[in-house]
């Protein structure tokens, strides 16, 4: 069966450079300015509400003694989850040698970085006094030294999230170096060339450097793969190691990791569908790319659906009255609307993707990706709030309504995310040029005869250096 190439339009390497650099070398369009103004305004509103929270305290939020975690931790888990698809695409699909990843990995990795930044805001704000944030690190101090508790999942989170951010940033930057060099060599003299020269670190495309570079890239992918699994596992430990019914379950780590990849993939679709249209990159992010991403979403949606069912079944089967109560309350109690929003968005909507014709309707896919994002936010809201709002003692039962400040802070995190993403699309190549060029070659296409260098050269020492 003849396979369609991943990159359409019979591109040559020179054409790839041209196509991907052109949108960044032109002045921004009115549409970009409009989008930037909108997201920056939302960011400003969010920043104002964050400043208000900082000066007044988290009493400005709708929390109470029963519901001590709500919007903030929901947003934190939501954003961390969004980031996971970036690492899935850049590292896990790299190890699986999936050629289609080259069209989306750069943007997906950028999305990971920005999502982790957004996530970081919420635990910091929840500390109440973020200027003491360094207290979460084990450093010698005048209180003993009084160390942090290594038995606490919240501390594990500190290590997991900061490692995740650092490794994702290194991975992303490493991938950018050859592309920055390409842009540098296209730029005329001036500030732009100087900056590109600075950040491209004198990359020359030497075959020797490429050899080490590829190895380092592979190693980072190999490290990032277990890392991404560990990060959301540890985030789920924040809940699973507690004694709260609804949280204290062993299914949480795989359930959270699947949910993270699910929501992140939906966000990648949302962004890519818009970006390819606006930047004219339909030959690179083709309908077939959208199709495979829809299939991943469908698969992970079924895993998440299975997790919902398992969780509910075990709650009933366990015979634990508290556990049973929490699940009945989730499905039929005062917050049942949130539970059923979650189920319909996350389990029912993606079932559309069983049909190839529906996966080909980009408008519908875009709408579904938005719905899934909403659903995955509600999943975390349901887990966190419905487990807390009914305490062990009915006298402590409470409800939870977010304050305007909390809503504005959530909106602000979206503002930050889209502002950063727009800046990224504006100034950096949104598609990994060097990687796309590598899959253009006819040998990369199935059915072609692989090119082999003629055998029988002189011995190895004829090549200068020869050693790393």
């Amino acid at each position: 069966m003849a396979e369609i190439p991943w990159i359409l339009g019979g591109k040559t390497p020179a054409r790839v450079t041209e196509d991907i650099c052109a949108p960044i070398e032109r002045p921004p369009t009115a549409l970009w300015y409009a989008a930037f103004a909108a997201s920056a305004s939302v960011l400003l509103a969010g920043a104002a509400s964050m400043a208000y929270t900082l000066f007044t305290g988290i009493g400005t939020w709708g929390l109470n003694r029963s519901v001590g975690w709500a919007f903030d931790i929901t947003n934190f888990v939501f954003w961390i989850g969004i980031g996971h698809a970036g690492t899935l695409i850049s590292a896990i699909l790299f190890l699986f040698r999936q050629k289609w990843r080259t069209s989306v990995n750069r943007s997906a990795e950028a999305m990971t970085l920005f999502a982790v930044m957004c996530a970081g805001i919420f635990p910091l704000l929840h500390m109440g006094r973020p200027w003491f944030a360094y207290w979460v690190l084990p450093y010698p101090n005048t209180r003993g030294s009084l160390w942090v508790s290594f038995a606490s999942p919240l501390l594990w989170d500190v290590f997991a999230i900061s490692t995740y951010f650092a490794i994702s940033a290194a991975f992303w930057y490493l991938g950018l170096i050859p592309d920055l060099a390409t842009m540098r060599d296209r730029a005329g003299a001036g500030m732009k060339r100087m900056l590109l020269g600075f950040f491209s670190l004198g990359w020359s495309g030497s075959a020797r450097s490429w050899s080490h570079y590829e190895k380092a890239y592979l190693l980072l992918a190999g490290l990032a793969t277990p890392l991404v699994v560990s990060v959301h596992t540890i985030v789920s430990f924040d809940f699973a190691t507690s004694v709260i019914p609804g949280w204290h379950t062993t299914i949480f780590p795989p359930y959270f990791v699947a949910g993270a990849i699910f929501s992140g993939m939906a966000m990648v679709l949302t962004l890519m569908i818009v970006a390819r249209k606006v930047m004219g990159l339909e030959d690179y992010i083709t309908d077939r790319h959208i199709d495979v991403m829809c299939r991943i979403i469908l698969t992970v949606s079924c895993m998440v659906g299975l997790a919902y069912l398992t969780e509910a079944f075990i709650a009933g089967y366990s015979g634990n009255p508290y556990e049973r109560f929490v699940f009945v309350n989730r499905q039929l109690g005062p917050m049942a609307w949130a539970y059923w929003t979650m189920v319909s968005c996350n389990v029912l909507t993606p079932q559309l993707f069983w049909f190839k014709s529906l996966r080909g309707r980009i408008g519908l896919v875009f709408a579904a990706s938005l719905v899934i994002n909403v659903g995955m936010w509600f999943e975390r809201f349901v887990i966190i709030v419905t487990s807390l709002h009914r305490d062990f003692l009915p006298s402590s039962w409470a409800s939870y309504t977010p304050s305007v400040i909390e809503i504005a802070t959530l909106a602000g995190s979206f503002g930050l995310f889209f502002t950063l993403f727009l800046l990224f699309c504006r100034f950096l190549p949104a598609i990994a040029m060097a990687e796309v060029k590598g899959i253009l070659h006819p040998a990369a296409r199935p059915g072609a005869v692989p090119v082999r260098p003629p055998a029988g050269g002189p011995p190895v020492n004829a090549v200068e250096g020869g050693v790393s």
Binding site: T163, A166, A207, V451
Partner: protein, 175 residues
């Protein structure tokens, strides 16, 4: 030593591979090749040894793992032991997440740092590319002209046979 270098540019990766094989057949010293993306089979054709970056990763990761385990043990069991219901002070299961994360952090950043330092990829470093097209669409092969037996005519005709689009000679250090 200021050597003279000889560069030939190609527009297709298979031409570069053929030229590398030709150059080695003629006994020339291949200095390097400058390519826009990794060309598979080029390392073998040029005789570049497989990268030992994996060792760098190990040398950063292993001490980090040891340090993380040691530090957590020291904090929890020696420096400030806290009696929690008579449980062991050495609760090693809880050390796993932080030890893992710290190992990944050091191994990952250490690998990148090793790559950048050994390859001289540093800010303010100027790139030495004989043909600016090498970061776009050209595959450039650089041979050492002087100090080795080098029959210019023979090399040139071999390269033209491999569809070289441009050739040039230049002193080392001036790209």
């Amino acid at each position: 030593m200021n050597r003279t270098l000889f560069a030939a540019s190609f527009e297709r990766e298979e031409d570069l591979l053929a030229a590398v094989a030709e150059a080695r057949r003629l006994g020339c010293t291949v200095k390097d090749a400058y390519i826009p993306y990794p060309v598979h089979g080029l390392d073998e054709a040029m005789g570049i040894r497989p990268s030992r970056m994996g060792w760098a990763c190990f040398f950063f990761g292993a001490p980090a793992l040891a340090a993380a385990i040691f530090f957590q043990t020291w904090v929890a069991a020696i420096d400030w032991p806290i009696n929690i219901g008579g449980k062991s002070f050495f609760f090693w299961q809880a050390f796993v997440p932080v030890s893992f994360e710290f190992t990944v952090l050091c191994a990952g950043l250490g690998t990148v740092a090793t790559l950048l330092l050994t390859q001289g990829l540093l800010p303010l470093r100027r790139s030495a590319i004989p043909d600016m097209g090498a970061t776009n669409n050209r595959f450039v092969l650089v041979l050492v002209r002087s100090g080795t037996p080098f029959d210019a005519d023979e090399v040139m005709s071999a390269f033209l046979k491999c569809r070289a689009v441009e050739t040039k000679e230049f002193p080392e250090g001036a790209s």
